[in-house]
Amino acid sequence: MRKAKEDASGIPVSRSLTGAALVVSGLILCAPAAFSPAQTAPDNVAGSQAADGAAPTDGKPPAGAIDNEAAIRDVISRTITSFGTVIRDAYSRELIGNPRIEGEITVSFIVQPGGGVTDVKVERSSLNWLPLEDEILNRIKAWKFPPFEGEPVPAYVPYKFGQR
């Protein structure tokens, strides 16, 4: 039997890359997918989206903010991937109350130029455990991205949770 190493929470994990997505497997499968252009394209995003109140400089990017579209998507993608640990932590905590939670959830949100996140919602889920879904939404609402210049960026991120 393959022995997985442990992460900071003491939960065994192993990591591998599958295409563009970071796949974390072990006791927990938590795969925040990197963005494809179709998933993050700012087309049809209304410029009047309410800015995140917590965003710096009233939602407007400061001087020196990222202004290259490809770079923006890359930074957002990598930031979302790095936040995977936050999602995994939420899952770990809910497992204490219900060790049987598993399934997939796809969340959507809009990254504002100021770095805040708005319009966070569950697009679909098979987790069958609303407390985890709500905790995931709450944690994403608190995310802060590097400010950038341009239109708000919509994101769709699937996470997969499981045990083995």
């Binding site: 109350g97 219900n98 959507s108 919602k121 569950v122 697009e123 679909r124 889920s125 098979s126 069958n128 455990w129 609303l130 407390p131 879904e133 709500d134």
Partner: protein, 211 residues
């Protein structure tokens, strides 16, 4: 409301042949929503079946959750919501259980043709769950078959249906006794509701959770 029986129905009968599976939301629910009697909020349907009304609420801006005992029904509901791009959530759970799968409070709860599947000995437990999951003064709509209904033999409190389910037919006074300890009843009446194959008499109750 035997789980196995519901599971069998949803797995063996095409959705468009299931008598209670009506895609368009009932006029009563639409009126409540479209007259802003209840404005977009956190909403939950108990006994949502294939989720048609939950999807409707999501399309109207509600943060909507559907609960059903049948995993087969919820599979259909999730596929349907995904196909329609509706951001709503579905949970497989027994409304007579502890409902730990849900936990969050809601502003609006409803059950449409669910309560006649729940027999009197279990009803207090169910209504307690509804109350527990609502915020103080949260609104609650419940509609179930009336004992005045002429369907399924036309008489008797317990009646068997062509699908072999057994339903309990309620009176308005029973509803008052059931709801009043936990809810303020704003409106209670016996109405006609359109089913897929027949019109039914039903008891309608619209309430607020006691603070």
């Amino acid at each position: 409301m035997p789980k196995d029986q519901m599971e069998h129905i949803y797995r063996s009968i095409a959705p468009d042949r299931i008598p209670w599976n009506v895609e368009s939301p009932p006029p009563i629910l639409r009126t409540i929503v479209e007259t802003n009697t209840v404005t977009p909020c956190r909403a939950i349907e108990f006994g949502c079946g294939t989720g048609n009304y939950v999807i409707y609420l999501a399309s109207r801006g509600f943060d909507a959750v559907g609960v059903d005992i049948s995993g087969a029904a919820i599979e259909i509901a999730r596929r349907s919501a995904s196909g329609k791009g509706a951001a709503c959530r579905f949970i497989v759970a027994d409304v007579l259980g502890d409902l730990e799968e849900i936990r969050q409070p809601f502003d609006f709860a409803y059950d449409w043709e669910l309560l006649h599947h729940i027999f009197p000995p279990d009803r207090e437990k169910y209504i307690g769950n509804v109350s527990r999951l609502l915020v103080p003064a949260g609104r609650y709509l419940s509609v179930c078959f009336s004992e005045k209904s002429a369907q399924f033999g036309g008489t008797g409190k317990y009646r068997k249906t062509p699908l072999d389910t057994v339903l309990y037919f309620s009176s308005e006074s029973e509803m008052i006794s059931l709801f009043e300890p936990l809810f303020v009843i704003d409106d209670l009446k016996t109405i006609d509701i359109e089913g897929k194959f027949a019109t039914h008499k039903a008891v309608y109750a619209f309430m607020r959770k006691r603070s």
